[in-house]
């Protein structure tokens, strides 16, 4: 199977190289009109077919690796290092992306899947798709070259073949790890498609904004994958790492967040190009940057440039990525300089206070946030270069710098939709902003009254202050968005005689893009409320003998013993805790500690009791080596459930935005 896999990768590389070369020659011939022996259209079609065949070859390679994992073929180094005989089936499957070579193969395969779909739908616009397909082939050549020459997944063990493998990293043996990395990769890899379209459209001086419309769906779907991937990663970190948090500003997390920010900026600014023919250069560079950031993220975490708690696969492929990024950047700059006249704006902004400028400021803030994260991630390297010693740039830095920027962005989320296009009058500002401002101040007063105050232990506390601001702004933005829904709904209710709820649904159906977007914004607001809850986290740690009690918030945890279990993959130790509230027993929690047989590594499995108000989060940290008693750490994390609920709403909003709008009956009849 190793030979089959290696051969498949080699064939895939040859096909991708043909796709690139034949596609480039055909497009050159078409652009210049030079006579040639072969018709350029036919040549371009052979390139497209090579791309489709390449998908089959990469799929065969991915299949070979998965097959080898299930067949326990420990003659393959990768399988030996990332699997073992007793690994459950689902995790054997996830071994595909648990290491350097496998995750690169997954990247190449997903790119091949995207390319396959793109090449099958080429009739939408044959010439533009040919450009995009050729650019995709260039990216694919890069990944397949790495897989063939720098990080081959099918390299064989030297010497005696071991009976069993080292097993999968215990941190990755969690259900979300079966879906989180593929979703994240779908997001990363997916941004190659809008990049390819943007670069292709620029190369061919594509007339009109049709390419933007084609790219919109790809970008939105990709953005959705990346969003889900990031949040699943957060949930995994929360449930597995056992430190009570979900976001640690780790370089790997930052690497996924940066393209999300630029991708989000692109989704907003692209509307300006569609509607008013503005920000063309900006949009092109946004999508170029997003693609480059996906590569940079991989470089940072894979090449070991920065240390990370969960960079599971590091090697020396950094030089390959640096070289490829330089090539991509040079091609982008060259194409832009050559074709920039084509990107001249058709209109300009009329007022500083308008919907258009709110998009501009929204982009500005998103890109600043991206810069802050990039800066924080790279500063240790910069510091080492400048002063000879590394420094740590951890959560305190990001909390001070990124949180205010995030709150400003939240403010724009509310303000933007309230501003009319072109220009704003004082009258309209007064009319649109009264309710949100009342909601903001009412929330401040309520929060202060119930004890959410910007101080802790007698002194000013920035965490509490930001939480207060976040709650108040969230209420304000929520009021602004609901107002938008109700205003439109009231007009339709008047026109159709339906009740307000039905009318609001009809309104959403009539303009899914706009109102789907607003639903996403409500989701973001809910996520922000959940994140702000972290300012009030509490935790208690205690060594608990039988019958000992631990109190946290309204709960009392009583140790009623422990139990053990074993299976072929790991041994488990559970602490059994009765949880009571107000003197009445409510439920039982069983935090777990595992030790995996193959690797000998320990792992915590957190017990979480989630309510809308808070999560009771209990970690069995292990037994005290001196006394043998279990050490329990309990956290009370307010509002965490809101984060996952907000993400679900963001998911729903994106789906709504992807559904085509329904035309009103009168308009349908008129056509």
């Amino acid at each position: 199977m190793a030979t089959f896999g290696s051969l498949s990768l080699l064939i895939a590389l040859a096909l991708a190289a043909y796709n690139l070369l034949a596609g480039a020659v055909a497009l050159r011939l078409l652009a210049t009109g030079q006579p040639a022996r072969i018709q350029p259209e036919r040549l371009a079609d052979t390139a497209r077919r090579a791309g489709i065949a390449g998908f089959v070859a990469v799929t065969a390679a991915a299949f070979a690796l998965v097959w080898s994992v299930f067949a326990n073929d420990f003659s393959i180094t990768y399988i030996m290092e990332h699997s073992n005989r007793d690994l459950p089936g689902a995790y054997k499957f996830s071994a595909l992306w648990s290491g350097q070579e496998g995750s690169l193969l997954l990247w190449a395969w997903l790119l091949a899947v995207y390319g396959f779909v793109l090449r099958l739908t080429h009739k939408t616009d044959v010439r533009l798709y040919a450009y995009a397909g050729t650019i995709l082939a260039a990216v694919q050549v890069f990944f397949l070259a790495i897989l063939n020459f720098a990080a081959p997944p099918f390299s064989l063990m030297k010497g005696t073949i071991p009976e069993d493998g080292n097993g999968l990293n215990p941190l990755l043996q969690y259900p979300e790890m079966v879906i989180h990395p593929p979703l994240l990769y779908l997001g990363y890899v997916g941004f190659t498609i809008p990049f390819a379209f943007a670069l292709g459209a620029l190369m061919m001086r594509y007339p009109g904004e049709k390419w933007i419309k084609i790219t919109r769906v790809w970008t939105l779907v990709t953005w959705l994958f990346l969003t889900c991937g990031i949040f699943l990663g957060m949930h995994w970190a929360y449930a597995v790492l056992g430190w009570g948090g979900y976001w640690g500003w780790d370089p790997v997390e930052n690497a996924s967040f940066m393209p999300w920010l630029t991708g989000t900026a692109f989704l907003h600014s692209v509307m300006m190009q569609e509607k008013k023919g503005m920000m063309k250069s900006w949009n092109v560079w946004l999508i170029f940057s997003t693609f480059l950031l996906t590569l940079l993220g991989t470089l940072l975490t894979r090449a070991g440039l920065v240390s990370s708690v969960h960079a599971f696969a590091q090697s020396s492929i950094g030089n390959w990525f640096v070289a490829f990024m330089v090539i991509v950047l040079v091609v982008c700059i060259f194409t832009y300089v050559l074709q920039r006249r084509h990107l001249k704006s058709e209109h300009h902004l009329e007022s500083l206070v308008s919907r258009e400028s709110s998009f501009l400021f929204n982009n500005l803030v998103l890109l600043t946030a991206c810069f802050v994260i990039l800066w924080g991630t790279l500063f240790p390297i910069l510091s080492e270069y400048a002063q000879g010693s590394k420094v740590t740039v951890g959560a305190p830095f990001y909390n001070r710098v990124a949180v205010p920027i995030g709150l400003f962005l939240l403010l724009l989320t509310g303000v933007g939709p309230l501003l009319p296009w072109r220009a704003t009058s004082i009258k309209s500002i007064r009319r649109n902003f009264i309710l949100p401002i009342v909601a903001l101040w009412a929330t401040v007063i309520v929060c202060l009254a119930v004890g959410v105050r910007p101080w802790k232990d007698g002194s000013f506390d920035s965490g509490n202050f930001y939480a207060l601001v976040a709650f108040a702004m969230s209420a304000s933005v929520f009021a602004a968005i609901v107002m938008e829904f109700l205003r439109g709904g009231a007009v339709i209710a008047k026109q159709t005689g339906r009740n307000l709820l039905v009318a609001t649904w009809m309104l959403t159906r009539r303009n899914t893009r706009r109102y789907g977007g607003y639903i996403i914004h409500i989701g973001v607001v809910i996520v922000v409320v959940g994140l702000a809850g972290a300012a009030f986290n509490r935790n208690v740690e205690k060594e608990m003998a039988l019958g000992d009690k631990l109190e946290i918030g309204p709960y009392t945890l009583e140790s009623i013993g422990g139990t053990q279990d074993t299976n072929p993959n790991y041994d488990s130790w559970y602490a059994v805790l009765d949880v009571s509230r107000g003197g009445k027993k409510q439920f039982q929690m069983t935090p777990e500690k595992r030790v995996y047989h193959a690797s000998g590594q320990p792992q915590t499995m957190v017990a979480i009791h989630s309510t809308p108000s808070w999560d009771l989060y209990v970690v069995y940290e292990g037994a005290n080596p001196d006394t043998g008693q279990p050490i329990i750490k309990a956290f009370l994390n307010p509002l965490v459930g809101w984060i996952w609920a907000g993400v679900a709403l963001m998911f729903f909003g994106t789906i709504v935005a992807l559904v085509p709008s329904q035309k009103p009956a009168a308009q349908k009849g008129g056509q």
Binding site: G242, W243, G248, D250, L267, M271, E274, K275, V309, H348, L349, S351, L352, R355, S357, L360, L367, T368, V372, W375, S383, Q387, S389, V391, T392, V393, G394, A395, P396, F397, R400, V401, I405, W421, R422, W441, V444, I445, L448, R453, P454, K456, D457, G458, S459, G488, N511, T512, R513, R514, Y515, G516, G517, I520, V619, E621, G622, N624, K633, A657
Partner: protein
Amino acid sequence: MGAPARMNLWTKAVEVMVLAVAVCFSLGATDASSRFNDLGHRLMCTCSCAQLLGECNHVGCQESGRERNELTAAIAAGQSDEQILAAFATKYGATVLAAPTAHGFDLVAWVAPFAVFAAALLGTILLVRRWSVGKTQVAAATDNDPAALALREKIRRETDTNNDGGF
């Protein structure tokens, strides 16, 4: 109700809100200090787990236990936050601090994001203002041009309708 009376009402409403906030702010800010928790979140555990000292959750982690003891002792000895952080940095190296300091080259880490944001904000405002002025001049010059009027009407039609404007 006339405009001045409405304005007066709004002014009063704002005054009431500010007063209410001030009253709430003045209530009960007297809890005891928790410097250990604060400093524990400004220092890193040195066991290579890349976690904050206050969040390191490894049972039997020698480094975090020792660091915590040192932190407790330093607080008990009455050292200031700056003295404690400096002592840790001297003993364990600069990487023990969870964020760059505000001195020397480290200061760049803090200044750069805000400088970039301020520059970008200023640049955007100037750009929009320049465009606005340009637009006014062009509009004045083409007020009677039928093609320009038709174009403006087309833009108005496109941007005023409720048919677009989402993701």
